[in-house]
């Protein structure tokens, strides 16, 4: 088992992580082009150096409500496959965390007694595992599953 780097981010008071190798870059929110008639969790389209990214409001998808904690959201650009350019909008990008791979337990076996996320069935779609770091519950998201979630309900 090895120590891996994870890119962390906050949505409201919940801390999530994504494998750093699956992340291209992080940036502030630019000028979004909204897509009329699209789902509520699709924030819009963003042109970054010629590539058109679909911006996905992961907070809306995971928690079922639009987070109002931060006015200026930030973006995490995910490594794209083929023609899929996906970015997720988050409240605040956190640190790059070093976590042992096997610290993450699959869903259904949480370590933390204050696991709020267990109550929300929608999370199971893209959650890979949970871990407790410094007494804070950290939820590992799978970018592939996020992408599937975006395209499956489109």
């Amino acid at each position: 088992m090895s120590l891996k780097k994870y890119c962390s981010f906050w949505i409201e008071q919940h801390l999530f992580v994504i494998d750093s190798l699956k992340v291209t870059s992080v940036r502030g929110m630019g000028a979004l082009t909204p897509v009329p008639g699209s789902r509520q969790d699709i924030s819009g389209l963003l042109n970054i150096r010629g590539d058109i990214y679909l911006v996905f409001d992961v907070g809306m998808a995971l928690l079922g409500r639009r987070s109002t904690k931060h006015i200026d959201k930030q973006l995490i650009l995910l490594r794209h496959e083929a023609d899929e350019f996906l970015a997720i909008s988050v409240d605040l990008v956190g640190e790059i965390m070093d976590v042992w791979e096997d610290d993450f337990h699959p869903p259904g076996q949480p370590d933390h007694p204050d696991d709020l996320n267990m109550e929300l069935p929608v999370l199971a779609g893209c959650v890979s595992g949970y871990s407790v770091q410094n007494n804070i519950l950290v939820t590992l998201l799978d970018p592939q599953k996020i992408s599937q979630m975006v395209s499956s309900e489109a």
């Binding site: 780097k5 502030g28 069935p121």
Partner: protein, 705 residues
């Protein structure tokens, strides 16, 4: 207002001011009472409801969490602990729900009551579900099955395998002359025994695995198929054991032991299957992943709606309190302005009334002066007449000496003259008395005017003192206004500087945030680079720390700037208020100074006029006194003339010329006396006028007093 005395007018002004202040106080009190009511409603009802709703939500989520932890507990002690906590939070939730109901009723929004009722309905389902889960977890059959599998069953299987190993090793057929195997059997038999033992182990292992699958399964159909599979394994196991027994010769003890072991395994398998079929843990897990999320989310959403509605109520209450507060302030200001206007109006009326009184006094003084001049003329005329009368009387006297001895006819005329002169004398005496009275009245008037002059002088001194104070006050006000203005200018400059610093601070924060993102991107790229990126990762980390420090410093500066700006705004407001107050004081002082100046000038003029009137009246008194003396002399002379005429009457001689002269002289005296009488009448009238003027002056002065 004209008919009221000055002290009544001042009393009216005071009454108006007190009434105005009372009105302001009443309106202010009413406004404050309304504000208090709103604040109380907000504090005691809405805020309390909000707090209780959030406590309710917390209890709900904790109860659900503890329920899940009960299921996921690794051992019985933890399961019991979490189930007790779940029950505790459930009872707390119910208590919070009961407490919240009356408070939401007080808020008065029927939607809130409905939402709470929906939450209650969802909770009833959740509570029932929780009780079932706790009961099922108490049974804990799946865990017991696993314990049996991993405990007794495994050890029994190990025992069988060990026993079989021992049994096959001590087989008596080992003395056979046939080719010996390691276990004393021929090869084919040995092979069969090994194969059977392996099959036995395999069957037992498959049984264990199938039992585990059976235990973790929720669907009854699948469980039945697993049970069927396990039964087949048991039948096969029996077959294998029989074959094994036939291949190896077991003594009775071993045989019984083997049978006993197989029997106990079967019994354990049956027990495990029975536990698995009860499936209490799976059932509890199923309940917690189906019913709990559905109704838990419903209840949570209901509570969130209640909290959102209460937040809106908070905003509404806040704006209502503001409105009430502003309306109270507006009412107070309007009342103050109205009271001020009414007070100024009343004061203006009183001031004009006082001015009118002073004007009346001046007019009266002027009239008094004119009357005094008239009296003076009259007295001059009287004096001329008296002189003429004296001259004529002297002539009469010399004439009568000449005719004293010889006129008979003069006797009757002289007698008549005596009678006329006697009446002149009495009339002159009467004149003398009346003039004496006029003199006394004029003297009294003069004294009264002197008193008025003295009072006016005192008033002038007081007014001059007030004017000095007002002038000093105006000067001080101007100085204070200048200071306040310069302070306001300094505060404005400070505020501008603070705003500039704030802008720079925002830029620093933006730069810190961008630097942070840059450092994160550098870390991500260094991760992609793998080992080669480790050095870069260190540099990126340092940059990130620097960015964080910058952001923190900028935050602290922004907080300080905000504090300074708030203090500056407060100071500017206070200085503005002071400035306004000083301006108003300055204006009032100027007006007072001008008004007092005017009054002093008027008072000085009045004093001068009154003094001259006083001196004129004194002169009048003196002249009248002299007239009185002259008139007395005239009376006395007339008496002597009467006596002389009587002597002439007694002697009865004289000449016609002398008699005519006497007659004519007496006629002249008579004319003179008539003129004197007329003059005396006019003097009496003038004195009466003067007396009337004095009375009116007294009245005006007493009004002023």
């Amino acid at each position: 207002m004209k008919k009221l005395r000055l002290k009544h007018q001042i009393a009216l002004l005071v009454f108006v001011l007190v009434l105005g202040l009372s009105t302001i106080a009443a309106i202010g009190g009413f406004g404050l009472a309304r504000t208090y009511q709103q604040v109380e409603h907000f504090t005691n009802v809405i805020n309390l409801a909000n707090t209780r709703a959030m406590v309710l939500r917390g209890n709900l989520l904790n109860a659900i969490r503890m329920e899940k932890n009960t299921i996921l507990a690794q051992n019985d002690a933890d399961a019991k602990k979490y189930s007790e906590k779940a029950q505790y939070f459930s009872s707390e939730f119910e208590r919070s729900l009961t407490d919240l109901n009356p408070i939401l009723t007080k808020v008065g929004d029927p939607l809130l009551i409905k939402e709470l009722s929906d939450v209650n309905d969802s909770w009833l389902v959740l509570k029932n579900n929780q009780d079932n889960i706790i009961k099922l977890m108490g049974e804990n059959t799946n865990v017991k099955a696993i314990r049996l599998i991993n405990g007794d069953l495994r050890s029994r299987i190990d025992d069988i395998e060990k026993n079989l190993q021992e049994m096959t090793a001590s087989d008596p057929s080992s003395s056979s002359p046939k080719r010996k195997s390691g276990i004393g059997l021929d090869v084919s038999k040995e092979y069969q025994v090994i194969s059977l033992k392996q099959k036995l182990s395999y069957l037992l292992e498959r049984t264990v695995l199938t039992l585990l699958r059976h235990n973790s399964e929720y669907d009854v159909g699948t469980m039945n198929s697993y049970s069927k599979q396990i039964s087949e394994y048991m039948v096969e196991l029996d077959g294998n054991v029989e074959q094994l027994k036939s291949l190896i010769s077991l003594d009775q003890v071993n045989s019984i032991r083997l049978e006993s072991d197989i029997k106990s395994i079967k019994a354990l398998v049956d027990q495990v299957i029975a536990y698995s079929f009860k499936n209490s843990n799976s059932e509890a897990a199923h309940l917690t992943t189906t019913i709990t999320p559905e109704y838990g989310t419903k209840a949570d959403n209901g509570i969130v709606k209640i909290i959102d509605t209460l937040h809106k109520e908070v905003e509404n209450s806040s704006s209502t309190i503001k409105d009430v507060y502003y309306s109270a302030i507006t009412s107070i200001l309007i009342s103050a302005i109205v009271a001020f206007i009414v007070g100024v109006f009343v004061a203006q009326r009183i001031s004009s009334s006082v001015n009118k009184g002073v004007t009346d006094v001046l007019n009266l003084s002027s009239n008094l002066a004119h009357s005094a001049i008239a009296v003076n003329k009259i007295s001059i005329e009287l004096s001329d007449q008296s002189e003429k009368t004296s001259i004529k009387s002297a002539e009469v006297s010399s004439m009568t000496d000449h005719i004293s001895s010889n006129v008979n006819t003069m006797a009757a005329a002289a007698e008549q003259m005596s009678m006329n002169v006697a009446s002149i004398s009495s009339a002159s005496e009467e004149i003398s008395v009346n003039v004496g009275q006029i003199s006394t009245a004029a003297g009294q008037t003069s004294k009264n005017v002197e008193l008025v002059v003295q009072n006016i002088a005192t008033t002038v001194k007081a007014l001059e003192s007030v004017a000095d104070d007002a002038r000093d006050g105006a000067k001080i006000s101007r100085d204070a206004a200048d200071l306040a203005q310069s302070a306001t200018t300094s505060m404005s400059a400070l505020d501008l500087s603070a705003k500039e610093v704030n802008k720079v601070t925002e830029i620093i924060k933006m730069i810190a945030m961008q630097t942070n993102l840059l450092a994160l991107n550098a870390m991500i790229e260094s991760t992609s680079a793998g080992e080669a990126g480790k050095g870069f990762a260190v540099v990126a980390n340092e940059i990130k720390q620097l960015a964080n420090q910058s952001a923190r410093a900028a935050e602290e500066i922004a907080k300080m700037i905000e504090g300074i700006q708030n203090d500056t705004r407060v100071a500017v407001d206070v200085i503005g208020t002071v400035n306004e107050t000083i301006s108003r004081i300055n204006a009032s002082s100027t007006r007072i100074f001008e008004a007092v100046g005017l009054e002093v000038t008027n008072a000085a003029t009045s004093t001068e006029s009154l003094r001259s009137a006083s001196s004129s009246v004194s002169e009048i008194a003196r002249a009248i006194h002299e007239i009185a003396i002259g008139t007395t002399d005239m009376a006395r002379n007339s008496s002597e003339v009467a006596k002389a005429a009587t002597d002439v009457s007694k002697s009865s001689s004289g000449t016609a010329v002398a008699t005519q002269g006497i007659s004519s002289n007496i006629r002249v005296v008579t004319d003179a006396a008539q003129l004197t009488n007329q003059s005396a009448d006019e003097l009496t009238q003038a004195s009466a006028t003067l007396q009337q003027i004095s009375i009116e002056l007294n009245e005006s002065l007493s009004e002023l007093a």
